[in-house]
Subunit: 138 residues, 2 copies
């Protein structure tokens, strides 16, 4: 399996295990002359009488040779996607999915923590082999 | 000449023509566990009794197969670099250098204009063949 598919499927399966219904794979947003392609859209029905919770998830593997270069890309995607969702689907909350190994190392660096805080990134930390979500960080 | 060097030299020469002194090529910022590498640092002495104006410039070519993918990277770099400069060199103003051709097409799209406004990107529009700066957008 290609590396991209491995990480993609791990997050998709992990969400399904937590009772999320994947509704879009990918979630395509067309807006203001551009096509944005977010990895997943999912919904959770909390209770019959309540509105379903909706998320969009951009899945990152951080397998590139430079973690900081991968982080630049992730931040740019996240902020463009969040801006587009704000206009077109304001009830859908965007998350960045990162592997647990990357979260416990690179994401602990003070600069990365600062950027997460400044730009209010919401994270889903996942474990790729067990296909489980370890942590939701809002 | 490699494409990267062609665009890099065009902006460097264009700044020099406008009386900027390139002081760093690249400008390296080490902060909070990461090394950030911004393409250029430059200074302009406005008058003997005034402080020199200082800029940092990240040079983008937008020659990739997808302009929106290039824009995600540019936005992520810009926002991480600006955050780092704010802490370590708060008197240095970051700019993103974009080719005129890209500026007149992709950058005119409503979504891109919205992102520029929202994230307060400062642009230097350059012409690669004449090695000139066409526009400064703050």
């Amino acid at each position: 399996m290609a590396a991209r598919d491995l990480f993609h499927n791990a997050v998709r399966n992990a969400l399904t295990k937590e009772q999320w219904l994947v509704t879009d794979d990918p979630l395509i947003i067309q807006l203001g002359g551009v096509d944005l392609r977010i990895d997943l859209g999912a919904e959770k029905l909390i209770a019959a009488e309540r509105e379903g919770e909706k998320i969009a998830v951009e899945i990152k593997s951080f397998v590139g040779p430079s973690a900081i270069a991968d982080f630049h890309v992730a931040l740019g995607q996240f902020l463009n996607y969040r801006l587009a969702l704000e206009i077109q689907e304001s009830d859908r909350i965007l998350h960045l999915a990162v592997p647990e190994e990357t979260y416990l190392t690179f994401f602990m660096l003070p600069f990365v923590q600062l950027a997460i805080q400044r730009y209010q990134l919401k994270l889903i930390v996942y474990e790729v082999t067990t296909e489980e979500i370890v942590l939701w960080i809002s």
